[in-house]
């Protein structure tokens, strides 16, 4: 285990060290102490290593992550795991705005609540939030799944493309072109797997409703202009 204390080590040195790790790296386990809300902690990692951040982080923690398993033992600021490619990011506390924005792969687990625009413009990432999510989540979401065990705020899935949204609690309102859809067997199966990967036991896929695109705004029609 390699331990880096951000109280005494600059962020640049931490990220440089992490970027040096490649497939088959000897130093597979990392621990980061005293993040104290620092931005871009463990951004751009590209190796199958595990990084445990012992405290809360600022903006863009684990940004563009590839392969790594990064756990924040605290809360995360805006844009956590933005544009993640693969790997797994777990936030033990809450996450601020834009969690998992534009993510293209991997799994983001938020054990607390997520703020507004969670999963904005997501492109393949899977996001699971144990608590609630804020307004405008999954805005223009292209692909991947957003699973919410709690409630969703206003305008969920506004202008959504092909992403799948599963919400167990209440949805305050749906955004333009987002509708409730039938939970078919394949959706129960996929959702069950995601819950298992996130380690959320005792929750059944049958408790969720599925939301997705009505596909009415995919091609412009003047008579739909009031939907925007």
């Amino acid at each position: 285990m390699r331990t880096i204390d951000l109280a005494t080590t600059p962020l640049r040195a931490l990220n440089e060290d992490l970027h040096r790790q490649k497939d088959g790296a000897n130093e597979a386990k990392w621990e980061v102490l005293n993040p104290r809300g620092a931005h871009a902690v463990a951004a751009g990692v590209d190796a199958p290593i595990s990084v445990d951040v012992k405290g809360s982080v600022g903006y863009y923690c684990a940004g563009m992550n590839k392969k790594a398993a990064i756990t924040v033992h605290g809360s995360a600021g805006p844009g956590v795991a933005e544009n993640m490619m693969s790997g797994k990011v777990v936030i033990k506390g809450d996450a601020s705005q834009y969690a998992g924005a534009t993510g293209r792969g991997g799994l983001l687990v938020i054990e607390g609540n997520a703020s507004s625009r969670c999963g904005i413009s997501m492109k393949g990432i899977d996001i699971i939030v144990k608590g609630n999510i804020g307004h405008m989540s999954a805005f223009m979401a292209q692909s991947g799944s957003l699973v919410v065990l709690g409630d969703a705020g206003d305008a969920l899935g506004d202008s959504i493309y092909e992403a799948k949204l599963f919400v167990r609690g209440k949805v305050k309102s749906l955004g333009a072109d987002c509708i409730e859809k039938e939970m078919r067997p394949e959706h129960h199966e996929a959702l069950g797997k995601l819950l298992e990967q996130a380690g959320f036991t005792g929750v059944k896929s049958s408790e969720f409703k599925r939301y997705g695109s009505a596909r009415k705004l995919y091609n412009f029609n003047i008579d739909n202009a009031d939907a925007y």
Binding site: N15, T102, N219
Partner: protein
């Protein structure tokens, strides 16, 4: 003799001219606003309204062809470990694969590389063709983040965070269904054939304070190697430039309303944003006020066509210029040799701007495999290189005539204006006077 009253000559309205009436009829028939490519077509004060004074007794000219006049430029000297060195001060603006064919992107890379300058990706990610053929490639970081990934980010020579562009400041990208081919759809994670309207704001930052942190993240991911550009449309150039500097830009790209786009609403192109000429001096003033002129480089784009235009932009304080539509014309866009085919599309060479429909007979703004094949990337790249070299010679010619051995020594004092408007916007005297309208009025 019978007297006939003279007939009244039919008089057309200046307000309701033929074009305006045709647009009303078109809107009534189709129920959709006009979408087109290109930049503003209306006449606005431009570089044509400025003249160089040249040398005489008060200035000492340099000998053409014999005395050296440097043209190189270094971009990204503020923070980047690896600034970009270009042989000429003309770059190729961001144009996406999707908007352009793969052949056209390859041709841009080839031409730019021969001439010693950079080309730029667009709203669709980086293709192997353009990376392979571009010695210096700027990777755009756009609100849509289509195709964005850390590997391509690290393969780039510079990164351009696009906040806006001159043709549609405040608007997002648009790529209509006809051009969402299998490859384009895959690169953008979108269903094939949909009308794709990408976001106008970035998904994970909102203001200059956030942007500063976003730049930190990009720099951390790319090891602080790459120059980071911030591109803005011409709207409030003094403040946008100052905020881009504050956020940590290495380079600012400022695009006026004549700058082209692949497709957007006509109402946007013609009615939103500032003419390029009006953008430069406020941006330079902001850099000077912050003590950052020449430390944060300024690239100006939007309607640059000739070496004279480029030289005038440099004289007003830019470090380089960028071309998009002119580069497309050099490749073969809107060539009169294709007039028969343009006629079938109800248009003519010089007017063709329905680039979003993907039926470009020149094979440039299309994803149709048969049309795309018409463009030979090697020959088209050579044409672009020739054009860039001619522009560079023109800049040198003007600079030598003004007594400068380096094109970056061109200065506002080398210029005068032909119109009051141009004099006020460029902040140079009206020709034959020492009058600069608007000075002392506090205009930004």
């Amino acid at each position: 003799m019978t007297y006939h009253n003279p007939p009244t000559t039919p008089r057309k309205s200046w307000t309701f001219d033929d074009y305006t009436l045709s647009e009303i009829r078109r809107a009534a028939a189709t129920g959709i606003y006009d979408i087109r490519g290109g930049g503003a077509k209306r006449r606005v004060p431009h570089f044509d309204d400025l003249l160089f004074l040249g040398a005489s007794i008060s200035r000492y000219a340099l000998e053409g062809y014999r005395e050296k006049c440097s043209t190189s430029v270094t971009l990204g000297t503020r923070f980047a470990k690896k600034p970009i060195e270009l042989k000429i001060p003309i770059t190729i603006a961001g144009m996406s694969f999707g908007a352009l064919s793969a052949q056209a992107k390859e041709a841009l890379g080839r031409g730019a590389t021969i001439a010693g300058t950079s080309t730029t990706t667009g709203d669709g990610g980086m293709t192997p063709e353009e990376r392979g053929q571009s010695q210096t490639l700027v990777y755009q970081y756009l609100p849509s983040r289509y195709g964005m990934n850390p590997d391509d980010l690290r393969k780039a020579d510079a990164i351009e965070v696009v906040v806006g562009q001159g043709a549609k400041p405040g608007g997002g990208g648009m790529l209509l269904g006809q051009k969402i081919s299998d490859r384009v759809a895959e690169m953008r994670n979108l269903p094939k054939g949909i009308d794709q309207r990408s976001a106008c704001r970035h998904p994970d930052w909102t203001g200059p304070d956030d942007l500063e942190i976003k730049l930190l993240e990009i720099r951390e991911i790319t090891n602080w190697e790459k120059p980071i550009y911030i591109k803005v449309g011409g709207t409030r150039p003094y403040y946008d430039t100052a905020l881009a500097v504050k956020a940590g830009a290495d380079v600012i790209v400022l695009d006026g309303m004549q700058g082209g786009t692949a497709a957007t609403q006509e109402v946007f192109i013609e009615n939103v944003g500032l003419p390029t000429l009006a953008c430069i001096r406020p941006a330079v003033q902001a850099l000077q006020d912050l003590g950052m002129h020449r430390k944060v480089q300024l690239i100006v784009s939007g309607g640059i066509r000739t070496g004279a235009d480029a030289a005038k932009a440099l004289a007003l304080g830019a470090d380089a210029v960028s071309i998009g539509m002119a580069a497309m014309a050099a490749l073969g866009d809107n060539d009169p040799s294709l007039n028969e085919e343009y006629a079938k599309l109800h248009t003519a060479a010089g007017s063709y701007d329905d680039w979003h429909e993907g039926r470009d007979p020149a094979g440039i703004t299309t994803q149709d495999p048969e049309l795309s094949k018409r463009l030979d990337p090697v020959k088209a790249g050579r044409r672009l290189a020739n054009y860039l070299k001619v522009m560079t010679l023109e800049i040198q010619t003007v600079a030598r005539a003004a007594g400068h051995n380096n094109i970056h020594n061109l200065e506002p004092e080398d210029l005068c204006a032909l119109t009051l408007e141009a004099a006020a916007m460029a902040r140079v005297p009206l020709a034959g006077t020492n009058w600069i309208p608007g000075q002392g009025q506090g205009g930004l």
